[in-house]
Symmetry: C2
Subunit: 225 residues, 2 copies
């Protein structure tokens, strides 16, 4: 007799999502096609439509899978530390799947797991003294900016296959180096830093520091008013 869970050749939502995410990671978001996922399971493209209403639903599930990796910090932490750790957690989850950033952004506040995440974050902000509007705004800024830092990390070149990446970066470097020194001195001097992140950890630490400092400074202004 066949087991529902151990069926070897049968598809499952989870298996399909896992495979789809692997394709996005390896070949970029645009490389993900229904047919390619089906092929990976030796199955007809139409087989996926039993498990997902359409491609969009599959993409949503992929985004949600990444969101499920995000953990919020300890509630007891002071707000400043909490914000820093929350951003770090978001960023770490995204760095594992940089090409999925668009999908994650869409699921971050409304997906299965995103709802829990957002609720927890809003709760912390409310307890820290923010009113409803401010909590919503800060939660939104924090999550979206964290994603941006990853998806736009210099040199990440998301949506580009690993092999093409080096070529694209070389082209950018060549572009800047071909610029006239008298008209573009700053760009030429900053070429290294702009094209590829020499130190990714520093890049993220700085981005987080700036944003957290901004929220705290702004919060102080408001509480004084």
């Amino acid at each position: 007799m066949k087991s529902k869970n151990a069926a070897k050749n049968s598809l499952s939502r989870d298996a399909l999502v896992e495979r789809a995410l692997a394709i996005v990671d390896a070949e970029g978001f645009e490389a993900l096609t229904v047919r390619k996922v089906a092929d990976a399971f030796g199955v007809t493209p139409m087989a996926l439509y039993w498990h997902f209403a359409n491609k969009e639903a599959l993409l949503a599930a992929v985004g949600d899978a990444v969101v499920s990796q995000i953990r919020l910090p300890d509630d007891e932490l002071p707000l400043e530390d909490y914000l820093r750790e929350a951003m770090t957690s978001l960023i770490d989850a995204m760095r594992a799947h940089p090409s999925a950033s668009t999908l994650v952004a869409q699921q971050l506040m409304y997906g299965e797991n995103g709802l829990d995440l957002t609720e927890g974050f809003l709760d912390k902000l409310a307890l820290a003294g923010f009113d409803v509007e401010r909590s919503a705004a800060v939660a939104h800024y924090t999550m979206q900016i964290s994603l941006t830092l990853v998806s736009r990390e210099p040199g990440a070149e998301i949506g580009v296959k690993p092999e093409e990446r080096e070529v694209v970066l070389a082209a950018k470097r060549a572009l800047i180096e071909a610029l006239p020194e008298d008209r573009y001195p700053r760009l030429r001097a900053a070429a290294d830093a702009m094209i590829e992140c020499g130190n990714s950890d520093e890049y993220y630490a700085d981005g987080i520091a700036i944003f957290v400092a901004g929220v705290m400074a702004d919060a102080k202004t408001i509480s004084q008013a």
Copy 2:
């Protein structure tokens, strides 16, 4: 004799880019196809390939066209005001074409107009006392975060046609209102603010204020070190 510039029925890069941008604005980024642009000019899809190497080149030109609308503030302004005005300028340009955000992000630092923009920004930061790495980082953060504020504005729902937009927002609202009150009290309370920006201008002003305050606070820390 025919004029190169006034030819009525002939295609031109500028005209094609303008039309492509109009399609993106009206129907969303995903609705932009080579065939649709060609149809708008009563011409074969292949006609575009004389003016652009491929679709990617057309998209790049569209992004660059939006970037060309961005003006940097007066150099003489104090850094804090300069940053605020630069972000405002970026945001205003993007708000006119929210569905083009992906294209703009790609051209913002490397496109025809993006190079001038970046050079000017880097120059200001250098004169304000930032070293090369810091200038590059702050320029990067500022520009990318400005774009994010627009492309992820609550309720913007980019990549969705105007007609579908209302439906999508209604669905999100229904989703949140269907959530159990005991488990998602914060989300339910914040539903209005999270789903659609009640006051867009305030949303942008707050986002800018937070980021600028962060950069200034961080700059102070560094200069003290």
